[in-house]
């Protein structure tokens, strides 16, 4: 079986006069790749390109060796694709089972017995086995998010694109979902965008940091964390030398910056520290408006 892959060469996307993505070049292989970046960095746009929901305006994109610009090849890609958009609306009155069943029909699961069995399997994966007959409107935000995730998992896709999959999901379920995604990523390309750095740290071997439509970092999570070694320290007051500092639960201040003050208490950096350090933590890195598409 050929290895699943996605290739982007100098890919860009504009919306009118707004340049949402510029010169993105990536090679994505089986495994989980995390996408980090502030609001408006272009994460959702990149995921929509990978999910064939949107074409690039510059560069070349290849998914599973197929060209999404060609209608027949785009359909082939979609047969092997699972996509969880940032926001999923649900038709009024639908139960969890009915919604996933409906998407399964669109994914060409025409045999009722096989389809129903697959719908139950994916609802089971997201921990909703017993809630199939519950109306989505009566579900909590986290449960709705899991219903949306379940439809993306139909058919164990070779490419799984997830835009903030764990938003609103409780910690216990997040751990379960991490296990599910790790299993899928053994053979599939999984790309997920999140604001939860702990999800990336726990799940991803590779992380891409986007900022203002450009790739700021692309590499192993451990390397990014390593870049922050010796640049994180604790103090009783916010340190003016730090790029960013915040009060922790112990009452002390965690400081992240390019230079540690002499005699300061250094601590092990986390991925969040490394991410903040990469972004600079300065006011000119304030998030822009999310690019609408």
């Amino acid at each position: 079986m050929p290895t699943a892959s996605i290739t982007l060469r100098d890919v860009g996307r504009t919306f009118g006069a707004t340049q949402a993505l510029t010169g993105v070049g990536l090679d994505l292989k089986p495994g989980i790749t995390g996408l980090l970046g502030p609001n408006g960095a272009g994460k959702t746009t990149l995921l929509r390109l990978l999910a064939t929901a949107l074409p690039p305006t510059q560069g070349q994109l290849s998914v599973l060796g197929l060209d999404p610009e060609v209608p027949a090849e785009r359909t082939s890609i979609r047969r092997q694709l699972g996509y969880l958009p940032q926001e999923v609306g649900f038709p009024r009155g639908f139960t969890a089972f009915a919604f996933v069943d409906y998407i399964a029909l669109l994914k060409e699961w025409t045999q009722p017995a096989a389809r129903h069995s697959e719908v139950r399997r994916v609802l089971g994966l997201v921990g909703l086995s017993d809630l199939g007959s519950k109306r989505i409107r009566a579900m909590s935000g986290g449960q709705r998010r899991r219903v949306a995730l379940a439809q993306a998992l139909l058919g164990s896709p070779a490419v799984l694109i997830l835009d903030e999959p764990t938003t609103g999901v409780d910690p216990e379920q997040r751990v379960t979902l991490r296990t599910v995604l790790a299993e899928i990523a053994r053979t599939s390309v999984v790309v997920l965008s999140t604001h939860q750095t702990e999800d990336v740290a726990a799940l991803c071997e590779r992380v891409i940091v986007l900022d203002r439509g450009r790739v700021r970092y692309d590499g192993p999570v451990t390397d990014l964390v390593h870049q922050a070694a010796g640049r994180v320290w604790l103090a009783d007051e916010p340190d003016p030398e730090a790029s960013v500092s915040w009060r922790t639960g112990t009452g002390r201040y965690r400081n992240v910056g390019p230079r540690v003050r002499d005699g300061a208490e250094q601590v092990e950096p986390s991925l969040e520290d490394a991410y903040l350090l990469l972004r600079g933590g300065s006011p000119d890195h304030e998030p822009r408006e999310e690019v609408a598409s």
Partner: protein
């Protein structure tokens, strides 16, 4: 407890359901009070009953949504079950077509009450625009909350749109003709070609703008035309003329050709271009 237990033969017949009514009732009576025999039932059932299939059937009964009246109608009309489901689950069909038909019925009744000329004008104004509004709402991105996951499935958007369009026309038009029979003169049939023509225009226009916007514009233009004609003349004779009906036929054919030629620019798939 009597110390007596079910024999293997009796138990097998019970599990296989080949026992008589009286024997079955007797066995069940015994099972109610005999724990060891109850345990033997499950053992005896292995290999006879496909528990997985029973469980699946039970879950199906609870979880699988029952087909709506509309879906059953589509199946009766010959549409395969899975496509009938795809058509019927569109938000629009859950209420819009019914509201549309009721609207026309109400206007037909009102028109009948208003008398010949004014009644016919009223009916002709409303009846042709309802099918095109229902068709537009059946695939308008704004009314489809699950559009993005739908968009990236392999099912062809064009096929889905045409299926939903045909379903609207197949259900709405005969119903409206029936209701229209209560309106005096030939008006019930006069609106048919305009209605088909407007639906085709909505399909064609939805390769430029959203279907609902197209339907609203077409409806507004039609209402303005009818109002102008109604204030200028008496009965709606002009719209019943052969040349006018031929014009609507031409409009329908031309619009449908445009739709087919420009189908890859459909509003739903428009982001990909």
């Amino acid at each position: 407890m009597t110390g007596w237990h079910l024999g293997d033969d009796i138990l097998r017949r019970y599990v296989e359901r080949t026992d008589s009514l009286a024997e079955g009732a007797s066995v069940e009576q015994h099972l109610l009070s005999c724990e060891p025999c109850r345990a033997r039932v499950s053992t005896a059932a292995v290999g006879v009953i496909d528990f997985a299939a029973v469980w699946d059937r039970t879950r199906d009964a609870v979880e699988v949504p029952r087909p709506s009246v509309f879906e059953r109608l589509l199946r009766a009309a010959g549409l395969p079950a899975h496509e009938a489901r795809l058509v019927a689950v569109a938000s629009a069909f859950r209420s819009a077509w019914l509201i549309g038909v009721i609207t026309i019925f109400a206007f037909a009744a009102l028109a009948a009450g208003m008398g010949q000329a004014r009644g016919m004008w009223l009916f002709l104004a409303v009846a042709p625009v309802v099918p095109c509004l229902v068709v537009a709402s059946s695939y308008d991105p704004w009314l489809d909350p699950a559009l993005e996951p739908e968009l990236v499935t392999p099912y062809p958007a064009l096929r889905l749109i045409l299926l939903r369009t045909i379903a609207v026309l197949a259900i709405a038009l005969p119903a409206v003709v029936l209701f229209g029979l209560i309106v005096p003169d030939k008006a019930p049939f006069a609106f048919l070609l305009p209605a088909v023509g407007f639906v085709a225009v909505v399909l064609a226009a939805s390769t430029w703008v959203s279907p609902l916007r197209a339907a609203v514009v077409i409806s507004s233009v039609w209402l303005a035309v009818v109002w102008l004609l109604a204030t200028r003349s008496g009965p709606p004779g002009e719209l019943l003329q052969a040349w006018a009906q031929a014009g609507f036929t031409l409009l329908a054919v031309a619009s449908f050709v445009i739709f087919l030629v420009r189908r890859r620019w459909l509003r739903q798939v428009r982001p990909w271009r």
